[in-house]
C-alpha cells in the first residue's frame, strides 16, 4: 500500500511552520484585543484577556512580539515573493483564478501573484501598525510625541489594522478554498498533484532538486 502512495513534497520546513503559527496565534490575540479597544460593541472581547485594563496592558506587548516573529518569517519567505512578469499576466486572468480554471493561466512559481501581493500588503500593514502603535502606547511613549502625531497614529493604526484583518481573512479563506494547502502549513508537505496543479514552475524546480526554502 505504502509503496503505491506517491512521495510527498516538502513545502515548509519545521522552523517556518512553527514561526507561522506563532505569528498566527499572536495575530488572533491582537485582532481580538484590538477590536475590543476599537469598537464599543466588541468591548466584551476584552474579557478574554482579563478585562479592559489587561487588554490595554497586553495588546502592545503581544504586538511587539508578533512584529519580531513576523519579521523573521517575512525574511524567510521574502525572496520567493518578488513579482515577475508572468505574475502580472496571472493577475490579469483573475477571473480564471476565482473560477478555478487554472489551466488557462501562466505557470506559477513557489508563490502566485495573489500570495505575493498579499505578502507585500501584510508587510506594509505591520510596519504601519508597529510604528503607529508605538506612538499611541500611552504608558511608555505617547508623551514623547506631539498630540497631532498621536491623533494621526490612532487613525493609521485603525486603518492598517482593518486592512490587515481583511487581508488575513482572504489568506485564511484561500487556505480553505484551495484544498491541500492547510497541510503544507501543518505537516509541511503537499501532494505532487497539488504542486503540479497550483505551482507548476516550483514543482519542476523541486524535481530538479531545487525549490527549497
Amino acid at each position: 500500500m505504502s509503496a503505491r502512495k506517491p512521495p510527498e513534497i516538502v513545502r515548509y520546513r519545521t522552523s517556518t511552520r512553527i514561526n507561522h503559527w506563532i505569528v498566527a496565534i499572536s495575530f488572533v490575540l491582537l485582532a481580538l484585543s484590538g477590536l475590543a479597544l476599537f469598537h464599543p460593541s466588541l468591548f466584551w472581547l476584552g474579557n478574554l484577556f482579563g478585562g479592559g485594563t489587561w487588554t490595554r496592558i497586553l495588546h502592545p506587548f503581544i504586538g511587539v512580539f508578533m512584529a519580531v516573529a513576523f519579521a523573521l518569517l517575512a525574511f524567510a519567505v521574502g525572496g520567493a515573493n518578488r513579482m515577475e512578469r508572468r505574475d502580472w499576466q496571472w493577475l490579469r486572468g483573475w477571473r480564471d483564478v476565482v473560477g478555478n480554471h487554472e489551466q488557462d493561466l501562466p505557470e506559477v512559481g513557489r508563490y502566485n501573484a495573489g500570495q505575493k501581493l498579499l505578502y507585500f500588503l501584510i508587510v506594509l500593514c505591520l510596519l504601519a501598525l508597529l510604528l503607529s502603535g508605538i506612538v499611541i502606547w500611552r504608558a511608555y511613549f505617547s508623551l514623547l510625541f506631539p498630540i497631532g502625531l498621536v491623533r494621526l497614529a490612532a487613525v493609521v493604526h485603525a486603518v492598517a489594522a482593518t486592512v490587515l484583518i481583511c487581508a488575513i481573512v482572504v489568506h485564511v479563506y484561500a487556505a480553505i478554498w484551495v484544498k491541500g494547502s492547510v497541510r503544507a502549513m501543518t505537516r509541511g508537505t503537499v501532494s505532487p498533484g497539488w504542486a503540479w496543479k497550483h505551482h507548476h514552475a516550483w514543482f519542476r524546480d523541486v524535481l530538479r532538486g531545487g525549490g527549497r526554502e
Partner: protein
C-alpha cells in the same frame, strides 16, 4: 465618583441609553472664571486639594509662577501666569485658572473606548469614573484642551470633576467657594452668561475694548467659561486655543472608521462564504496526481 446618577445624557463607548429619568430642570450649570478679577493667590488650587483630598508632589521652581508646573493626577486645577506687553507698552499679568472646560461636546468622551469611564450629566458636567477606566489615554488624545492626566501609579485618567459630588447636593465647587475676589462664580449657564455680559460691559467702559466671553462654539460651548480682557487673542492666556474643536483625526477615528471597518471585515468574510457556496473549492483530482507522477518519471 461612585454615587448613582440618574441624569446621564452621554456615556463613553455605550450604544444604549443611560439612566436619565432625572433632568436638569434648573438649567445646565457653568463655572465662570473672570480672569480680569483674578489676583493669582492660588486659593482655588488649595481648595481643590482640600475638598478632593489631593496632594501633589512638592516640586522645584521652574522659573515662573506656575506652581505646580503642570496639571497632574493630583493637581486638577492650576493658575497659569502669562506676561503680556500691550501695544501701549504696559505690562499685563494674565492669570488663567486652567483645568477641565467641561465641553458640551467632549473630545475625551468621544475617544474613550471603556464603557462608562466618562459620563456627561444632564447639568453639563463631564465626569471620569476611574473604576471603569482602562488607562489607554485615548481621552488625552481626544481632548482639545490638553487636560486629562494619566496617573503614573494606577494608570487611570484624572481631571477636574467640577466638584460633581458637591454640585449633586446643591453646593458650589470648592474653588468657587474659596475665591477671595469673586473671580470664580457658579450657577446656571444662562445666569453666568448674563453675569459675564455685565462684566464685559464694565470692562469695555474701562478701555478693554476687546473684552469678551470665552465659550467656544467649536466644542458646543463649555461649562467652564472665561471672561477675558483680550477675548480676540485667547492664546495670550497660556495658549488657550482660539478655536478649539475635536480634531478631524479623532472625528475620523471615532466616527466613520468604526462602522466602515467592521463592515469591511464582515464583507470580506461574506465574499469568501459566497465564493465557496457559489464556485466551490479548488481540489486536486486523480488526473492531476497522475499527470504529476508522469512528469516525475520523465524527469528521472
Amino acid at each position: 465618583m461612585a454615587l448613582q446618577s440618574l441624569d446621564i445624557v452621554r456615556r463613553s463607548a455605550t450604544t444604549t441609553p443611560s439612566p436619565q429619568a432625572r433632568e436638569a430642570h434648573a438649567g445646565e450649570v457653568a463655572k465662570l472664571i473672570d480672569v480680569t478679577k483674578c489676583i493669582g493667590c492660588k486659593a482655588c488650587q488649595v481648595a481643590c486639594m482640600e475638598w478632593n483630598d489631593l496632594r501633589d508632589e512638592i516640586g522645584s521652581c521652574t522659573g515662573h509662577y506656575d506652581n505646580p508646573a503642570d496639571l497632574s493626577e493630583h493637581s486638577w486645577t492650576l493658575m497659569r501666569f502669562s506676561e503680556h506687553e500691550t501695544a501701549a507698552g504696559d505690562l499685563e499679568w494674565l492669570i488663567r485658572k486652567d483645568g477641565c472646560m467641561h465641553c458640551a461636546d467632549p473630545g475625551c468622551l468621544k475617544a474613550c473606548p471603556a464603557p462608562g469611564a466618562i459620563v456627561q450629566y444632564a447639568n453639563g458636567i463631564v465626569d471620569f469614573h476611574e473604576e471603569n477606566c482602562i488607562g489607554c489615554g485615548y481621552c488625552v488624545t481626544g481632548c482639545p484642551f490638553n487636560v486629562p492626566r494619566i496617573s503614573k501609579r494606577d494608570h487611570k485618567a484624572y481631571k477636574c470633576t467640577l466638584c460633581s459630588d458637591r454640585v449633586a447636593v446643591g453646593l458650589e465647587p470648592a474653588c468657587v467657594k474659596t475665591c477671595p475676589t469673586g473671580a470664580i462664580v457658579f450657577g446656571t449657564k444662562d445666569d453666568m452668561k448674563q453675569h459675564a455680559a455685565e462684566r464685559i460691559e464694565d470692562l469695555k467702559s474701562r478701555g478693554f475694548e476687546h473684552a469678551g466671553l470665552y465659550d467656544p462654539a467649536g466644542v458646543g460651548g463649555t461649562h467652564v467659561m472665561y471672561v477675558l480682557h483680550h477675548a480676540d487673542q485667547p492664546q495670550l492666556y497660556a495658549n488657550l486655543p482660539a478655536e478649539p474643536k475635536i480634531s478631524a483625526m479623532v472625528g475620523l477615528w471615532k466616527g466613520m472608521s468604526k462602522p466602515l471597518a467592521l463592515l469591511a471585515i464582515a464583507a470580506t468574510a461574506f465574499a469568501g462564504f459566497l465564493h465557496y457556496i457559489g464556485i466551490g473549492p479548488n481540489e486536486v483530482d486523480e488526473d492531476d496526481e497522475a499527470a504529476a507522477r508522469r512528469e516525475m518519471e520523465e524527469t528521472r
